[in-house]
Amino acid sequence: MRMLLKISWLNLWRNRQRSIVMIIAVMVGLWGGIFAASFMFGLLDQRFKSSIEQQVSHLQIHHPEFLKDYNVKYYIERFDELYKNLSEDDDVIAFSGRTKVNGMLRTATLTTGVNIMGINPEMEANTTSLNKNIVEGDYPDDSFRNPVLIGKSLADKVKAQIGSRIVLTFQDSERELAAASFRVSGIYQTAATGWDEMHVFVLQDELNELLGYEKIVNEVGILTDDHEKSDAFAERYKDRYPELEIRTWSEISPELAYMQEMASMMYVIILTIILMALAFGLLNTMLMAVIERIKELGMLMAIGMNKKRIFIMILLETTFLTLTGAFLGMIVGYFSVAFLGKNGIDLTAVGAESLSEYGFDPIIYPVLEPYVFVVITILVILTAVFTSIFPALKALRLKPAEAVQAE
């Protein structure tokens, strides 16, 4: 086997120019595949992270009726007990209890529908990145009454600034209309402009008071130490709180899970297409290599090198050719993704607004999962085996008596 390995490797360099061209083709093809995959992973990874950190969290707990009717009267009754359990749970990094109500936001110029989120600023800051997304003003605190945090796209829409007064109108616990004046204390901006336009944040205690409750929580957002644990975590809490609706991120935003599955599938499809295109180049190279060596192959058969060894030799040559290119492609891919993963690819100039509308950040940081290299290696070896079959069969069909006489 060592000699076969040596012959196969040396045979690769008999036509140096042709092999180098093919190796470069494989290298560039795989680099392109790796880059495209890492770009896609980066895009979706950011989308996933921003959705989890800014909106969804890993799990959400509600009164089951609240999800149907969105009425504040459907609040979590055993919240104090839930609070204690979540505080003591090692899997929980942070959680935030919110009061949620639909309402209208009115300024001197415009009225629009919004979701009013009553938050405990400290708990919310630990659970979501709301405090990090402030682009103007301050994160709400107790320094003045009725502060409100609004999204930048909403501020632009209603022409509000820091200090502007806005009126929020909503139904209270008695289904009576309640209205209160709030002052814009801060403006936040996330990657999702649609979300920003629809959500305003006020202090939970103040909202509860306006709603006519002393202390209610309609929604608990939970951040665990690993999103993979979400399902098990949900099952555990469903046993403890059968009266509550406990949903994981993949149930709340199925498109996130779908996008992740799609990304893995797309990546394999992209690589398969690239390798299929390269397979024809490889096939051509190996066919040429066989046709040029008919006499030599005839001699090898004549002196007793059996068909199995001839096949292995051609398979090894194709594998070496492909793996050399693949190895170089993976190295170039790794370093380019490492560089861009650190510095990012700024797409602001080519459509930041469009990306934001779909919840994507305009600066993409490509991400490369280690398993990508395993998948590439397997696919490359499969390609090599696949492309070596035809040239090998051509070699095996040779008749030694005729092949040794070939010109």
């Binding site: 030599e296 001699m299 090198m305």
Partner: protein, 232 residues
């Protein structure tokens, strides 16, 4: 003397269904151990086909090829590979060495296929290359050797596996006079000293003049079978 090869009514017909050509026509011959035979004849006389048949590279349409009491005429292809590897040495007109391997590796290669140990393989390869006068070219690749030297490597390769006989197809055709004589000297010496059975297919008078047996084929049949025992 022991018979190494026996052919019985050996016949090879090409294009049998359209226009049958009898390349070899009912040839019955015996080759004994240590013979130095030249198969001669005009182009198309069937020399190469006959050599291919007794070398197990082609299958006869009729008749038998018996090598050392084994009938190879109906042998399966997979077994023929193994049979050739263990019993027959080949020297080709255009050397047919593996260009990426050194002279020593080219000679070792056949023993590698026979699964010899590395030490034995190396020792035998060096011995054989010394015998053909190439002890200083062990690590040279074919591209670094002259035509005559490449053919001597091919002879060393053919003999390295200790075959029962060596088939040489026009081995001197591509060589200049000096290289041809040099090669023939080496092969004659090995034939006499090591009692190696040599069968040449040739047009070359220099080879014919050294052979102790000359078989002339015409239209696939034996026209003359002459022995020159006095030749040394």
């Amino acid at each position: 003397m022991k018979t190494v090869i026996e052919t019985k009514d050996l016949t090879k017909i090409y294009n049998s269904s359209v226009a049958p050509v009898k390349a070899v026509n009912k040839v019955s011959l015996d080759f004994v151990e240590g013979e130095f035979t030249a198969i001669v004849g005009p182009s198309g006389s069937g020399k190469n086909t006959f050599l291919n048949l007794i070398g197990g590279l082609d299958k006869p349409t009729e008749g038998q090829v018996i090598i050392d009491d084994t009938d190879i005429s109906g042998m399966k292809e997979s077994k023929l590979f193994d049979f050739r590897l263990k019993n027959i040495g080949f020297v080709f007109q255009s050397y047919n060495l593996i260009p990426v391997l050194t002279a020593k590796e080219n000679v070792s290669f056949i023993m590698l296929l026979q699964k010899e140990s590395k030490a034995k393989m190396e020792k035998r390869a060096v011995e054989m290359l010394e015998q053909v006068g190439l002890s200083e070219k062990l690590n040279s690749r074919p591209g670094q050797l002259s035509g005559g030297q490449q053919q001597r490597v091919a002879v060393a390769r053919a003999l390295a596996s200790k075959p029962k006989f060596v088939l040489a197809d026009e081995p001197t055709a591509n060589l200049d006079t000096e290289s041809a004589f040099n090669l023939l000297d080496i092969m004659s010496r090995l034939n006499k000293e090591e009692n190696i059975t040599l069968i040449f297919s040739t047009h070359d008078q220099r080879v014919i003049d050294r052979a102790r047996r000359v078989i002339t084929l015409v239209d696939g049949a034996v026209s003359k079978d002459e022995k020159f025992e006095s030749r040394k």
